[in-house]
Symmetry: C2
Subunit: 395 residues, 2 copies
């Protein structure tokens, strides 16, 4: 038995970690644009990176460290992804992190970036942050604000996990990501810290499985960025660990953050769960479910709050999975909107469907009636605002 | 040697064919909503249909005819796709086509539908067209208008093909399709008629290859409908045929119509060719090229006329094809916008790129520098208007 208690204050709850965010002029306004997370002792690090072939310089820099290296410092900047910058992009990171050592002694520092692709980092501005940081601060909010790009709100979450013997450990995270969110991660940075006494092998295993059921099952626009990073830092300071408890807490943490990203999807007004059951197998269920969460016609129908189930059916039919008109069943929440017996919408069903579609969150379920495969992915609608944000983003 | 002369008047140029379109009240306004194309003698028919698993009733009805059947009549309606309507949808077609025989004697009549999915046809309204049609008319324009859904303009094209001996045949087509246009066809109906003396085996072969390089290489929104139909009717009346001449004319006809569809893409303001060269093989080139023409982030950057080549690179990197940051070269028309030597945009290049992006049509070329594979697909931008059309379409 164990209990998970949500705590206010994000990263600040985890023993032995410090964080801060400052503005050095990369971003206009009051929010920070450079942040750090550090531990007073070296940490084991696990990471999952983007599947994009053009990995950004910070990811290449990370991968240059020896396997199972320990680190006590992550430096993060927004506004510039340091991607498609070649060897110079890596040299820039090295120069910046060497300069950091003048302000604070760190071991194997990691850098992480998000923003526009194809521009060199403004090194001097970023270095100027080192004189502004409070290295003893626990400013989780400032840190979470500083890593935002098109996000509308900061994303931080933390849990205290108490075991049967009343001993406890903490796990907390900040993340960012609003557009380019796709089943294969996407412009998403998430930094998780813990004081649990978790072995490195469990870190790798549990982080991968948590990623699958969270960040890898959401889609804002079907694009996958060059910079996606999910990172777990463990300083073991509490001396306490229970694999099952940690796993449940980590899954819950990443799932909740993934849904926060989705509800903050660029221009999104609602979050929809696309549940596919009765598929030939889980893989086919995932294929159909992802096709739904990525379909422009489905996304615009959601925005228009139009119970046009024909677009749901058509998208499943086009996804390439095994399916039959005769065995398909489509529901909006608990309302059957299509079955073999009920093809055309009667007035009453249509009115009920309108009501469901007006909600901020609801579920569209499709039972293919073929086999036992199932999968749930999460998506959002596509609004004028999405087009506006992405037509204007760079300039 | 042969010559291809474009003619005004669409379908009306082909000997032995008649067509008309009338309004029976499915559509508001002056445009027709039911149309026919007929031949005075039975024709060989070749067809390519949607890959969507939920094929609409008219496609199922067509496939119930014996292989290599001949037909002299196509009936087409807009506003209702007669899709996901089960066996009743097919029975409705049979009832309508039986009724048609009271007005004109036809052989193996074909029906084709486009519009909203999931509603039964309004049979009595459609039947009322049979008393309004002028069966001796050559009203290509009215016919082309009647099959439109969200299209902004009718699409018709016809060629006279003259051989070396001065003998000639005709080929002409009408088509519709504005949204749901995807590399795998999509809500697209295209009816091609010819008086060339083409053998049935050539019809099948040449129609498939024409489809590949035209309708299968364009994308408006990545969706594939339940009703896509590309149909070729040959009455052989001219007695004239030359395979190469026919093939070139058919390819040109379908390619031009495909680009017309794209320039009429829902809310689209520009058409862009995405050329991928230097890929490992043609299949990988097609994969990368289609990823570009389907990417929301690329499409919104096109709409915003923002020379943000980072989104082009990121989309290629995410598409799963073999590629290297070091060997990639990106051009907008003839302007190099990214190469290993030139990562950040200088002011002059940026200004030139702005100018190119303001054009109605331009080309984005990506040389992956890996192998010999190449492919071109065509796409359009994503505007507020697309969201508006598709949020409102059904209601």
């Amino acid at each position: 038995m164990f209990n998970i208690f949500p705590l206010k204050g994000g990263l600040s709850n985890v023993d032995g970690f410090f964080c801060d965010g400052v503005n050095v002029g990369l971003k206009d306004g009051l929010d920070g644009d450079v942040a750090f997370i550090r531990s007073e002792t070296p940490c084991d690090i696990s990471a999952v990176f983007t599947t994009n072939k053009f990995r950004a310089a910070p990811i290449k820099h990370f991968l240059n460290y020896p396997k199972n290296f320990k680190s006590d410092f992550i430096l993060i900047n927004s506004k510039n992804a340091n991607a498609m910058t070649g060897d110079l992009g890596i040299k820039d990171i090295e120069e910046i992190l060497t300069n950091l050592q003048k302000s604070i002694k760190v071991q194997n520092p990691i850098m992480s970036s998000t923003g526009v692709i194809g521009y060199r980092l403004k090194k001097e501005l970023i270095k100027s942050a080192f004189l502004k940081f409070d290295y003893q601060a626990k400013n989780s909010y400032k840190c979470a604000r500083a890593i935002m790009t098109t996000d509308n709100f900061e994303k931080e979450l933390s849990f205290k996990v108490t075991l049967e013997n009343q001993k406890s450990f903490h796990i907390a995270a900040i993340c960012k990501g609003a557009g380019m969110i796709n089943p294969a991660m996407a412009t998403m940075l998430c930094f998780i810290i813990t004081d649990a006494n978790i072995p490195k092998s469990d870190m790798d295993e549990l982080l991968n499985s948590a990623n699958e059921q969270s960040f890898n099952s959401i889609s804002v626009d079907g694009d996958t960025s060059t910079n996606d990073t999910l990172l777990l830092m463990a300083n073991k300071k509490s001396g306490i660990y229970d694999k099952e408890a940690f796993s449940v807490a980590l899954d819950r943490l990443t799932k909740e953050l993934a849904l926060q990203i989705l509800s903050d999807g660029e221009g999104s007004t609602k979050v929809v769960a696309f549940e596919v059951t009765g598929a030939k197998n889980d893989k086919e269920a995932q294929k159909a479910s992802s096709a739904l969460s990525n379909s422009l016609l489905v996304k615009t129908a959601l925005f228009g709050e139009d119970p046009n189930w024909g677009r749901i059916a058509s998208t499943i039919g086009a996804s390439g999975v095994e399916c039959l008109e005769e065995s398909l069943l489509i529901k909006y929440d608990d309302l059957v909107i299509y079955s073999k017996e009920k093809t055309s919408l009667d007035e009453e069903t249509e009115q009920k469907a309108f009501k469901i579609m007006k909600k901020d969150q609801f579920k569209i379920s499709c039972n293919l009636g073929i086999g036992e495969g199932s999968y749930v992915s999460y998506g959002c609608d596509l609004s004028y605002e999405y087009v506006k944000i992405n037509a204007d983003y760079r300039t």
